[in-house]
């Protein structure tokens, strides 16, 4: 196989791949930040006792979780212009990624809040914490600490999902592979390189998750 594999082409296109990698990284970063914001709001609405906040949150979460990202992306991409909203493909893509992952983040955070024993709230009440202090200083830090590994897992999913953005011609890593493939018709060089670069991001995030879990284990046993 190696005699067919042309490393010189990969080297020649390396700047393009690096540009794609760079774009994938910051698109994903923006997507993760957006997903955290959307997810926290949706989670807060979902667990609140106000009925008219719960219903929209449930509809949003269930609608996102039972439809594919590609359909959501096309919905925004083809739908927003007919509403008179004219934004770039890049913005559409990042918004779609944030809205998509936001629903999963909301569910992860909800599970995190559920896992906190009620004694924590009672103890905080006993110490005279009011409802905002309880949430900010007692519940939120614990929920985030408990859910960091699944949140990082969702970040990995988001990085991979950002490949779909290449279909609405956003310049990112997969797009770089498509460009090389269409210019030189060398699919192996193009897509295996792309896959290898995605694996770099994957192993980095996986390493962070493992490191954090080890730290938590040591912290809990100490």
């Amino acid at each position: 196989m190696l005699e067919y594999f042309n490393f010189r082409i990969i080297w020649e296109y390396m700047p393009l791949f690096m540009e794609g990698l760079y774009h994938t990284c910051w698109i994903s970063l923006l997507g993760i930040i957006g997903a955290l914001v959307v997810g926290m709001i949706a989670c807060a609405c979902r667990i609140s006792r106000v009925k008219w906040l719960v219903a929209p949150a449930v509809v949003y979460i269930e609608a996102i979780r039972s439809t594919p990202l590609l359909a959501q992306l096309y919905f925004l991409y083809f739908g927003l212009p007919s509403l008179g909203i004219d934004v770039s493909e890049l913005t559409t893509g990042i918004v779609a990624l944030s809205l998509n992952s936001g629903a999963y983040v909301a569910e992860i955070l909800r599970a995190g809040f559920k896992g906190i024993p009620f004694g924590q709230v009672e103890a905080a009440m006993g110490q005279g914490f009011n409802v905002y202090q309880r949430f900010l200083f007692i519940l939120l830090p614990q929920a985030l600490a408990n859910t960091l590994p699944p949140l990082l897992g969702q970040a990995i999913v988001l990085v991979k999902d950002s490949a779909v953005l290449s279909l609405i011609s956003v310049m990112e890593l997969t797009r770089a592979g498509q460009v090389l493939n269409s210019e030189r018709f060398m699919p192996s060089e193009a897509f295996l390189t792309v896959a290898a670069l995605y694996l770099v991001i994957y192993y980095a995030l996986k390493g962070v998750t493992k490191f954090y879990q080890l730290r938590m284990m040591r912290f809990r046993s100490a």
């Binding site: 269930e62 590609l70 096309y74 919905f75 007919s82 990995i156 997969t174 192996s188 896959a195 694996l199």
Partner: protein, 222 residues
């Protein structure tokens, strides 16, 4: 104008039914294939520190670390270079099968490890071989525990099957994409696409939740 477009949309409904059939067909085939691959590799991988288990870890990492879109391109564009010509349908089913297999492998492997080691020891002391213990005692318990996660994985599989529209299979997503070229009402067209996916995935998500509640009473959980 909306009324006119709605009428247009009604005219393309037959294409959406065909798309639904395509999505269902591709998903069902790769669901069966993926489950077979996943269970077999999961059992093989559960035996730690063997060469096979390390190789399977690499397989799982590769599939989990790269976007499905890139995997699809690798199968669809690169295999023909080695003389393996195939249609889009075959490429879609093969790549979805391999992809789903890796996730199911992980689920099955985790479930096998969650079965208490006393079960294996009891079997061995009764004179069963390792294979017999695995097939007759451990695997049935593990699969029962893994069932909710498996159904959840099937939902992800159906959603990921939307990506195969990229290589020209007319599934639900591509039916929407083709329609939106003639009916420039993106919101309406992709709301219909979303609704069709919702109709398939939503019951499955709730089946998964139900199974989780049903099987987790007083039992070990994943």
């Amino acid at each position: 104008m909306w009324g006119y477009y709605f009428e247009q949309l009604l005219h393309s409904l037959p294409m959406f039914w065909k798309g639904l059939a395509m999505t269902a067909g591709v998903s069902a085939l790769s669901l069966v294939g993926g489950t077979i691959i996943g269970v077999v590799t999961g059992v093989l991988r559960a035996r730690r520190r063997s060469i096979i288990s390390h190789l399977l870890s690499l397989y799982v990492d590769f599939m989990r670390g790269t976007p499905f879109l890139v995997q699809l391109f690798i199968i669809f564009f690169i295999l023909p270079e080695f003389g393996l010509q195939m249609e889009a349908f075959a490429a879609a089913v093969i790549s979805l099968t391999i992809y789903a297999g890796s996730y199911i492998c992980e689920i099955v492997c985790a479930a096998i490890e969650a079965v208490p080691s006393g079960q294996e020891e009891a079997c061995r002391s009764l004179g069963h071989t390792h294979t017999q213990a695995m097939l007759l005692v451990i695997l049935p318990q593990a699969l029962r525990m893994a069932l909710p996660a498996l159904v959840g994985q099937y939902v992800l599989l159906i959603k990921d099957s939307s990506i195969v529209s990229v290589i020209g299979l007319t599934d639900i997503t591509r039916a929407g994409w083709l329609t939106v070229q003639r009916v420039p009402e993106g919101l309406m067209v992709f709301a219909l696409v979303g609704l069709l996916y919702f109709a398939v995935c939503f019951p499955l998500i709730h089946l998964s939740n139900y199974l989780e509640r049903r099987f987790s009473t007083g039992e070990l959980k994943l």
